[in-house]
Symmetry: C2
Subunit: 329 residues, 2 copies
């Protein structure tokens, strides 16, 4: 059983999950024995959500065989000497995004990528309905240097029994901004960026893709809904298609600019209904986004020590390159 442990010095929680040490890696091994390929479905736990396609399934959500969190039991706090612990209760799903072993973000059709986004949103809402769940983290690791253990295109959905400090940090800042300005910090940032233009990768009436002003990594790019939306769970089917259009174009541009670099996709959204409401205005003050983080540099001793990242590529230059890849001048 996984267990949460809290560091006394920083307050940071970690998940101790020894069973994950046994998970296999398949990079370069091809797809004959891939448990995510069609006809091998019995090699994963039974699906919790399946989207049917023309010939069999199109997208499958299965529990992770080597979970970092497990859904059994109650959330129980404990103490060992001066330290705090918590039972590792939660969910850890794998979204098998396609029956095709060799496709990915940059090669899916917009229709298929929209299906994946819609499955993310549907499973998000299912997990958010569990009263033990306070935060849902959707993520996608691509390439071994970005932490992926399998080649077959997949993403992950993890449901947590508390709101992590990293998430609280943004909620607090957004709440404080809203209290002072009576406006959403993100809406105002988007407005400024569309006006300034220098960091915009692409934008339509629904979504904007932009390099943030202070990116931790070269070519880091954020996708945000242009219209205010606090929770990813509010994404409807038209929204899924609009998001897929921008994400697919960004993935293609990334490939042609920095090649098939290992990267992470990280969703940042508001907490679920079960979370204690410390951010009264969260539906007004918070605004979800999807981050694409290419692993183009290695955080090292300075970053671990100070939390301050050194970035050798300006966001203005990165945005220009990505923009040109999408719309050659």
């Amino acid at each position: 059983m996984p267990e949460f442990r809290q560091d006394l010095v920083t307050g940071d929680w970690v998940i101790m999950a020894q069973d994950r040490a046994h998970r296999p890696y398949d990079h370069g091994g091809g797809n004959s024995a891939c448990p995510f390929c069609p006809h091998n479905e019995e090699r994963t736990p039974p699906a919790v959500l399946t989207l049917e396609g023309d010939t069999g399934w199109s997208v499958r959500v299965v529990p992770n065989k080597y979970p970092a969190l497990t859904p059994e039991g109650a959330v129980v706090d404990g103490r060992i000497g001066p330290y705090a612990t918590r039972t590792g209760v939660g969910f850890h799903d794998v979204v098998v995004e396609s029956p095709e072993h060799d496709l990915g973000l940059a090669t899916y059709t917009v229709e298929h990528l929209a299906q994946v986004m819609a499955v993310w949103a549907e499973r998000y809402s299912q997990l958010a309905a569990d009263p033990r769940v306070q935060y849902v983290q959707i993520l996608r690791n691509h390439g071994r240097r970005a932490g992926a253990s399998r080649e077959h295109p997949h993403s992950q959905i993890m449901a947590m029994p508390f709101v992590p400090d990293r998430v609280r940090l943004e909620l607090n800042r957004a709440h404080s901004y809203w209290s002072t300005h009576n406006a959403c910090m993100f809406c105002e940032m988007i407005e400024h960026e569309l006006e300034a233009e220098a960091r915009i990768v692409m934008a339509d009436s629904e979504f904007v893709a932009m390099a943030p002003f202070a990116p931790k990594m070269p070519f880091e790019t954020w996708i945000l809904p242009v219209r205010h939306q606090a929770s990813f769970g509010q994404l409807d089917s038209a929204g899924a298609t609009a998001l897929a259009r921008v994400l697919g174009a960004l993935a293609k541009a990334m490939n042609s600019t920095v090649s098939d670099v290992p990267h992470n996709l990280v969703l940042r959204t508001s907490p679920t209904q079960a979370a204690p409401d410390e951010w009264g205005s969260v539906h007004n003050s918070y605004h979800w986004r999807l981050e694409m983080v290419p692993r183009l540099s290695t955080p090292a001793g300075f970053e671990i020590g100070t939390g301050v990242f050194v970035n050798v590529a300006t966001p203005e230059d990165a945005a220009k390159q990505l923009k040109t890849a999408i719309c050659p001048v």
Copy 2:
């Protein structure tokens, strides 16, 4: 010129340092052309501190040729639209630890490693005396996967014009603990750990090496002075020798347990005299430590999103293995 930029959403600062994009990598290239080897001294900027050895220098501190921070000018805050900026003022030194290209933490004599530690402390105090400097980060990256760009054994000392949030986090928690318990959180933790024994790697009257209760990485190990000491700048020559004894033994044990794994050494210490004194009790409440962080797992989408790390190795098991490597039963 490097520049600090602050992220609006998180408040995190990054350093934009485009010139560092041009730094060369020498891994596997051998030492014939190594700028850190003897007879190539003119290929680095002039040394700011040199320790003489029997035949030439023993340890050399030189300004980084591709600095993330530079010592010219004043610390000036700026604003671009809704965003905050700051001039990238500071210091970025390289400590060339030895004339020998192929030595390292695990192969230095204790006497030599003590010299390196003493040079760290001396240069720390020099930098801390600059009124623009509020925090000094000492670090050591070993292996390309841990962010090192050169093989020749070296460490880095970076001086910052403000106290980073990651550092403030610990100072605040330590201050709050001290206010409540009238005791140093770290002293009490060490006392508990020596009593509990399960996470102790080694200990003598001067230093303790221990696996933290909630490590972010497998085999992460902390070295702390047993007697209360807030700042690394207080390390004297006897302390340097005692620290070298423990660090050298730990490095050897790490090598024999997880082989020559890429790793970071990260010093965590109190701010310099120039820092605003928001932590009235900092000399009583804070307690420096040196962290050894082997890069045995890859932080991925979940860690980036939540700040919560998943660790597949318990600190109790890691400590046992390291302890056995130091003192075979």
